[in-house]
């Protein structure tokens, strides 16, 4: 009896804090989700409804026409073939950029930790420095290099730019991860007769899942979302998604089709969201696997 009456106040105060915390969290979550919600809502309304109603009213007549238009027939600049071509441009740019910069970063990290050479600190410091050079500074020299190589204005040129910029970060990630990787394992493999690449493939890479996922998420979002390099080095039909979206939204001819703009914006953002949702799970799984390893 006395115990129960002693406990009651603490239980009720605990519940009070619980409620407060969850209420705050829910309010915050709703607040953050609101823009996405409005985008989704607007993208399935007709233009008339958008003009008449307010932002938060549900559509009376649901329609997928804006999505179809954004994908297939909307006018981007002078051509009216939708954004699908630019979407594939972005994919063609992102996949090789992410793959190449991740692989090179992994090999760099491997060399900078397990095959050290005199001056390795300097090399790493300079690569780190590269991470912090603002994009704008390299625009002119980069365009000269691309022109010299004859890949200006092409997807290949953009891939080169993004790989160059990405190596700094991917090297940083992998170097720090491999720094903690036991060197004795590499030594054991050397004695077992494995060479440089075999040690990398058979010993280090299989244990690198968490850092690969981190690097891929980082590179994918950065490269996909990049606007400046895309606008500078790949004009016209080679432009990536972000540039196309800008051109679509800023087209001044005719009526402003908010629903099509919103649909296009969601399509532009979808891949990065997808990467977070899919790879994020593997990321956690990778961390768990690492923690059980003795």
């Amino acid at each position: 009896m006395s115990i129960a009456s002693n406990n009651n106040p603490s239980v009720s105060s605990q519940r009070f804090w619980r409620v407060l915390i969850y209420t705050t969290l829910i309010v915050m979550a709703v607040f953050y989700l609101l823009p996405l919600f409005i985008m989704l809502l607007t993208s399935v309304k007709t233009l008339d409804e958008i003009r008449d109603g307010n932002l938060l009213t549900l559509p009376v007549q649901w329609t997928l026409e804006p999505w179809k238009k954004a994908w297939g027939t909307a006018c981007v600049g002078l051509t009216c073939e939708g954004i699908n071509g630019y979407f594939w441009n972005s994919i063609k740019m992102v996949v090789p950029s992410v793959a190449i910069s991740t692989i090179l970063g992994a090999i760099n990290g491997y060399i900078l930790t397990k095959w050290r050479f005199p001056g390795h600190r300097w090399v790493f410091a300079l690569m780190l420095f590269g991470c912090f050079i603002p994009f704008q500074i390299v625009l002119l020299p980069m365009s000269q290099v691309l022109g010299f190589l004859g890949i200006a204005g092409s997807t290949a040129g953009l891939v080169l730019v993004h790989v160059t910029y990405g190596i700094g970060f991917s090297t940083l990630f992998f170097r720090n991860y491999y720094e903690a990787f036991p060197t004795e394992l590499v030594n054991a493999a050397k004695i077992d007769g494995a060479g440089f690449f075999r040690i990398f493939w058979r010993i280090l890479l299989p244990s690198s899942a968490p850092i690969i996922v981190v690097t891929v998420i980082w590179q994918f979002t950065n490269i996909w979302n990049d606007f400046l390099f895309g606008a500078s080095f790949a004009a016209g039909e080679h432009a990536p998604m972000t540039v196309a979206l800008n051109n679509l939204v800023n087209s001044t001819t005719g009526v402003k089709e908010y629903n099509v703009d919103m649909a296009a914006a969601i399509i532009a953002a979808a891949p990065t969201l997808l990467v977070y949702i899919v790879a994020g799970r593997y990321f956690v799984r990778g961390l768990m696997a690492g923690s059980v390893k003795g």
């Binding site: 030594n187 077992d192 058979r202 390893k293």
Partner: protein, 370 residues
């Protein structure tokens, strides 16, 4: 199987001189233990034999072949690491066979060798597991299996037992010794544990600060330590080191030790040519605890047995023995008595000194006097 010659080997990292001219010869089938305190360079030397560290100067030869420009994989060696270094992403079977796979052995041979080694080490039931699912002792066995399966010329062990608990360590020690006897392989083994060194080695190299202090059989190191450091490092409890002067009486030599509240103690010394030049000079007398006993358990064959009454400061029974602590020459002296010796602290009791086992050191050079 092969011999190893370490010839005047130096190692420096920049200006830091880590190994200062090491010379060691290991015969075919020898079990060499490199022992010393941490930072003495023993692991560096092992890594240089393995080819994981470059040789700054000098040469290492395995079976008459210089290893100077050979990669680890070309040296026909196998190594067991302190952390076991098992590949975490591979099964036990893959871990063991990885070295064979890298050397392009046939599938059938790999299977046969893996099976026979895992049978020998009794890890057959673990072959499908990953290292993360094994206990420390099991990992240790797998690490040894990985070395054994290659049948190399030389086995290198880098403190392989230091991550095991005390009981398991003793068991594995015995197993390594059995393995050596069965295979007759040449082994180089690094440890900081002098008991491991004593029990396993056919030859011990004791190192300090990058220099070889003494190379010899366990018996030589224990009974004829070449200097104070070796004397203090080998044996537990360690050797009693007492300041003494050498006196001559009737043509015979004695070590004179001051004693609290009583006359000086005169301990007879065996005849050694070098002792004469130290007459009336200060020396350091080294005598192991087991050479100071109760009179009953003293070595009756010793020609220089001397029994003296000393005051017992403290007694420490360990179960098997009784350590009696007294004071001579201003230093504490540990004597190793039978467990049931009737000694009480604060009282006087008989101590038998077996001076045949005593050694003398020069106090300034710290080298043994012969």
């Amino acid at each position: 199987m092969a011999s190893i010659d370490i010839v005047n080997v130096h190692k420096s990292y920049g200006s830091a001189h880590v190994l200062k001219g090491i010379d060691i010869q290991v015969d075919d089938g020898d079990f060499l233990v490199l022992v010393g305190p941490s930072g003495c360079g023993k692991s560096t030397l092992l890594n240089m034999i393995a080819g994981l560290e470059e040789i700054s100067d000098g040469d290492i030869r395995i079976g008459d072949e210089s290893m100077k420009d050979k990669r680890p994989s070309e040296r026909d060696i196998a190594m067991v690491f302190q952390s076991y270094a098992l590949y975490p992403n591979m099964t036990v079977a893959k871990n063991i066979s990885f070295g064979l796979e890298m050397r392009n052995f046939s599938k059938a041979e790999i299977k046969e060798r893996t099976e026979s080694v895992s049978k020998m080490l009794q890890i057959e039931q673990l072959l499908a597991r990953k290292p993360g699912q094994l206990s420390g002792g099991q990992r240790q066995r797998v690490a040894m299996g990985r070395a054994l399966v290659r049948e190399p010329k030389v086995f290198l062990f880098d403190e392989p037992l230091s991550n095991l608990d005390a009981k398991l360590r003793v068991d594995m020690r015995t197993e390594i010794k059995k393995l050596h006897q069965r295979l007759g392989a040449t082994i180089v083994y690094v440890t900081h544990d002098q008991i491991e060194a004593m029990t396993l080695a056919t030859k011990i190299a004791i190192m300090k600060a990058g220099e070889l202090q003494q190379l010899g059989t366990p018996d030589q190191l224990y009974n004829q330590p070449s200097n104070l450091f070796v004397a203090g490092f080998m044996g537990s409890p360690s050797m009693n080191i007492l300041p003494a002067t050498i006196a001559e009486q009737g043509g015979k030599l004695f070590a004179k030790l001051s004693q609290k509240n009583t006359d000086d103690l005169l301990l007879p010394l065996p005849e050694q040519t070098g002792y004469r030049s130290y007459i009336n000079k200060g020396v350091l007398l080294g005598i192991r605890p087991e050479a100071i006993t109760d009179p009953e358990s003293a070595d009756k064959d010793s020609e220089h047995l001397y029994i003296a009454d000393c005051i017992v400061n403290v007694t420490e029974p360990t179960g098997a023995d009784l350590f009696a602590i007294t004071e001579l020459g201003g230093r504490e002296v540990i004597a190793r008595m039978r467990a049931n010796t009737p000694l009480k602290s604060g009282e006087t009791g008989p101590f038998a000194f077996n001076m045949n086992k005593a050694v003398l050191f020069d106090p300034s050079s710290e080298a043994r006097i012969d």
